[in-house]
């Protein structure tokens, strides 16, 4: 059951090994959200809540969607996971550096939100995190590759445009270089477009062999042209460097005008136009083929990362960098560093989660509840350090325990009974008792804290409290052993 909107989990996998029951997770989620909003309001940092919450939600959606097979789903997952995850990690890292207490507070809540969200989406295990990390890493590498490719293409295009549009006629040497550059780009585009065009498939069957021969000849010609243009370009550059064109123009009077014609717009359009058109049609054919092909999960994953990388470079990166100078007066260099290294931080943290589960530091099936509770423990410590009121600190600590308790309880119910039976009453009863224990504990501790701060303060009371905690711990161990012995007897 989804709370609202489309569900991110797959009902078919919510069986004995699925996520906790919906009622238990709802209780945990509502409590965490309430405490998060309440605490940030109390501390006067409510404006950060929406940012952290949105980023955590997008990371969760990305985690869930990157475990799917369809291209559209994977592409949207890429758009959600990498940017939001990188922004979250970079933002929290910055906050930890600038204000460690607030950093700890928000890091704890962010961990809890992501863990609960991943539990809802049934994507809180290492088996779910690993593919998301792999695909995120792939799209990150492809983004870097796209950055280089787009920079080179844009540079070449701008260079040619500047030369063609300049009012003064280019020198003969430059004109020749420009001509062979246009020839090279046009031929390359034509060659690529030819590769993806379904010429052989659309040709009549009787012409099959002749079409094959024709295509082979065409490939040979284009290859020759590419090599020729490269060679001529190198020779022209060398000639221009050693002053060969000056000798030529002085020896042959009309050659300057003749070579100048090579660098005119119509000639450039004639060279590049057909190639670009062929490339465009070829890409359309390729796209149609991709859309009509049956689902191939592995190629869809690579393609989604490939397209997402291009989208990041063309759509997202300029937008992100345009905002760079704004937040907290961070210099653009720091912003670029965050964009470049945020994903690496995200992969490191994700890798830690995977390793922790494999090393059984995190329970294999209860990874979401464990991380959720651990996040709340961190938030409690952070809240204490930023000076949150003591009742709020106790509430956060209690919510940490409630998150663990109701989530693992719901998980146990799912494990034993599956997802079909109606168990809402059982879960609500358990949640009610657990919340009741929390309320009683918080009220008692608040009273105790009031007594502590009213009657005495300082080292003596802290030491006494520490001794009390240690004493309780020591008492609990033999008590549990006694109970176990009672049962055995």
């Amino acid at each position: 059951m989804a709370l609202f909107g489309p569900r991110l989990d797959r009902p078919s996998v919510i069986g004995d090994d699925g996520r906790p029951r919906a009622t238990s997770l709802t209780v945990a989620s509502v409590l965490v959200a309430a405490v998060f909003v309440g605490a940030t309001r109390q501390l006067g940092v409510f404006q950060v809540t929406m940012g952290v919450g949105t980023a955590a939600g997008l990371v969760t959606a990305g985690l869930a969607l990157l475990n799917r097979d369809r291209f559209t789903t994977l592409f949207i997952g890429q758009l959600c996971f990498l940017p939001a995850g990188s922004a979250l990690v970079a933002g929290l890292a910055g906050l930890l550096v600038l204000g460690p207490a607030y950093g700890l507070f928000f890091t704890g809540f962010a961990i809890t939100l992501v863990a609960l969200g991943a539990s809802w989406a049934n994507a809180d295990s290492a088996a779910s995190v690993r593919p998301a990390l792999f695909q995120g890493g792939l799209s990150y590498l492809l983004t870097l590759a796209w950055v280089v490719a787009v920079a080179v293409i844009a540079g070449v295009v701008l260079f040619i445009r500047e030369l063609l549009l300049s009012s003064s006629a280019p020198s003969p040497g430059l004109a020749v270089v420009l001509f062979v550059a246009c020839l090279f780009v046009g031929t390359l585009c034509f060659r690529l477009g030819l590769r993806w065009l379904p010429i052989r498939q659309l040709a009549p069957r009787r012409l099959g062999h002749s079409i094959d021969d024709w295509l082979v000849r065409l490939r040979r010609v284009t290859t020759t042209l590419l090599v020729f243009s490269l060679a001529v370009g190198v020779v022209a550059l060398g000639t221009a460097f050693f002053g060969g064109f000056s000798l030529l123009t002085s020896a042959v009077p009309g050659v300057t005008t003749l070579l100048g014609l090579l660098a005119t717009q119509p000639v450039a359009l004639l060279l590049v136009g057909p190639g670009l058109f062929t490339l465009f049609v070829g890409l359309v054919a390729l796209g149609l083929r991709r859309l009509t092909r049956p689902v191939d999960a592995s190629s869809n994953r690579v393609l989604a990362a490939f397209v997402a990388g291009l989208f990041f470079v063309i759509g997202l990166l300029p937008f992100t960098l345009s905002l760079a100078p704004i937040p907290l007066s961070i210099s653009p260099v720091l912003a670029i560093l965050a964009v470049a290294f945020g994903p690496i931080g995200l992969f490191l943290i994700g890798g830690l989660v995977v390793v922790a589960e494999y090393a059984t530091l995190v329970p294999s099936r209860a990874g979401g509840p464990a991380l959720g509770a651990a996040g709340m423990v961190l938030a409690t410590v952070g809240g204490t350090l930023v000076g949150a009121p003591s009742p709020l600190v106790f509430v956060m600590a209690a919510v940490a325990m409630i998150v663990w308790d109701v989530s693992t309880f719901g998980l146990g119910v799912t494990e034993e009974l599956g997802h079909l039976p109606e168990t809402r009453r059982l879960e609500l009863f358990h949640a009610l008792v657990t919340v009741g224990v929390g309320i009683v504990t918080v009220v008692g501790l608040t009273a105790l804290d009031y007594v502590r701060t009213s009657l005495a303060s300082g080292v003596v009371v802290v030491g006494a409290a520490a001794l009390a905690v240690l004493g309780t711990l020591l008492v609990l161990a033999p008590l549990k052993g006694y109970l176990e012995a009672e049962v055995r007897d």
């Binding site: 464990a370 509770a373 423990v377 409690t380 410590v381 204490t384 350090l385 003591s390 600190v393 106790f394 600590a397 209690a398 940490a400 325990m401 663990w404 308790d405 693992t408 309880f409 146990g412 119910v413 034993e416 009974l417 599956g418 079909l420 039976p421 109606e422 168990t423 009453r425 059982l426 009863f429 358990h430 008792v433 657990t434 224990v437 929390g438 009683v440 504990t441 918080v442 501790l445 105790l448 804290d449 502590r452 701060t453 303060s457 080292v459 802290v462 409290a465 520490a466 009390a468 905690v469 240690l470 309780t472 711990l473 609990l476 008590l479 549990k480 109970l483 176990e484 009672e486 049962v487």
Partner: protein
């Protein structure tokens, strides 16, 4: 036996973490916060470790005697007979391994106050055999969820589901003459349907005088009615391995469904005075060409033997290598003028060839085909189209074909299959004159 859960170890770690950070940061609030996890540890460890096993369980199976393929509703009621609330009761009913749950769930989890009860309902699909229900497993947990106790309580009510081929086929003596399957002869005789008129003979019943003819011609004439005769019917069951397909896990095989239909049809036919012979093809038997063969006969003994033969066919695991010979052999074994009724899911072309063979020799034929093909996949839809094509090909030979869909009650399917009295003579003509075979 009671066990302790260890799920609060993390809380102890949290308490130690709070206390450590509190000491380092000299924060009294954090030190006090360390008590929160400890409170939960104490709650989980101490509260409600004594778990009374005061649950009473009753089960109702409706119906507890049923033919294969029919849905069976199971109702399990768990009541707290003690005077304390049971905070966490989880029940899993022991569904027999051979059966599968079609609707609902045999599991539940709830809390039970003293005297309160909870009920779970689920629906099974019956398969042939006697299926015993083991006691349900009831697991109780303490309030804190730390201690767990599992009990297997005694169950009141039904503990078994009996599924028989002849479960809803009443004894022959109880049958009236209302059943279909009566054959009409060409000769005139006693009956209800007009056949012809003849000259009045002294002693004819006044009720048979054709007064309309008398009014026209002033001559007395008597009416002849179609004569109804008892015929021999050979019930043929297709028990080949390919016909042992199931529409889903835990569902009866097509052979089971065919055997159920054949049992019902045999009972009906015997009840209306027909002689019934039984043949099972596709499984090695002691009869000619490896057939399971029961010669034509009537009465309750014949019915018992037929049902026993169907039961053996359902359980058969061996495969006959000479199905084609068995089909041909039936032509020698079947009484002259007998009607052949084939019960087959038509999952391949062999039954169609068999019908062609029988029809080419002039035998009237009936095909009743239980539908076990699932049409929710592309391959399933393809298989269904092929099956429809086979039914059409059987029909093209002049055989009366009936597609027994899963939602259609068997009596209606049988009624349709055997309500072909008037067509049977034509069948012979089609089979012989059509020249297509």
């Amino acid at each position: 036996m009671t066990k302790f859960s260890t799920r609060w170890h993390g809380a102890v770690a949290a308490a130690v973490f709070f206390a450590s950070v509190g000491l380092l940061a000299r924060s009294g609030v954090l030190l006090l916060a360390a008590i929160v996890p400890l409170a939960y540890v104490a709650y989980g460890t101490v509260v409600g470790t004594d778990l009374p096993a005061t649950v009473h369980v009753s089960r109702h199976v409706d119906p507890d005697l049923t033919p294969p393929g029919t849905p069976v509703r199971v109702t399990l009621t768990v009541r707290n007979g003690g005077d304390r609330t049971l905070p966490d009761v989880r029940v899993v009913d022991s569904v027999p391994e051979e059966l599968s749950v079609m609707r609902g769930s045999p599991r539940t989890g709830t809390t039970l106050e003293p005297g309160e009860s909870t009920t779970i309902e689920y629906v099974l699909v019956a398969r042939r055999g006697v299926h015993d229900f083991a006691p349900p497993r009831v697991r109780l947990r303490s309030l804190g969820g730390a201690s767990v106790r599992t009990v297997d309580p005694a169950v009141d009510g039904e503990t078994a589901l009996v599924c028989r081929l002849d479960a809803d086929a009443p004894p022959i003596d109880d049958q009236g003459s209302q059943f279909v399957g009566r054959l009409t002869a060409d000769d005139p005789g006693e009956g209800l349907t007009f056949h012809s008129t003849r000259e009045y003979r002294r002693g004819d019943d006044a009720g048979r005088i054709d007064w309309r003819t008398y009014a026209k011609t002033k001559e007395l004439a008597a009416i002849n009615y179609e004569r109804q005769v008892a015929a021999s019917v050979v019930v043929v069951l297709d028990a080949r391995p390919i016909s042992r397909a199931v529409p889903g896990p835990g569902r009866p095989t097509a052979v089971e469904l065919s055997a159920y239909a054949a049992t019902h049809a045999t009972t009906d036919l015997l009840g209306t005075g027909h002689d019934v012979a039984v043949a099972v093809i596709g499984a090695n038997g002691a009869g000619p060409s490896g057939l399971h063969w029961l010669p034509a006969g009537g009465g309750e003994t014949q019915r018992r033997q037929a049902v026993e033969m169907f039961r053996r066919a359902v359980e058969a695991t061996n495969q006959s290598d000479s199905t084609d010979r068995q089909v041909t052999e039936l032509l020698d074994l079947a009484p002259s003028g007998a009607q052949l009724a084939l019960f087959s899911p038509l999952l391949d072309d062999r039954p169609v060839e068999a019908i062609r063979t029988w029809r080419s020799q002039g035998y009237p034929a009936i095909v009743l085909s239980p539908d076990v093909v699932t049409a929710n996949t592309v391959s399933g839809q393809f298989e269904q189209v092929q099956r429809y094509s086979r039914l059409a090909r059987c029909q093209a030979t002049g055989a009366q074909t009936t597609d027994w869909r899963r939602a259609t009650p068997l009596p209606i399917a049988l009624d349709y299959a055997f309500a072909a009295d008037a067509r049977l003579p034509n069948q012979s003509q089609v089979g012989i004159q059509g020249g297509t075979l």
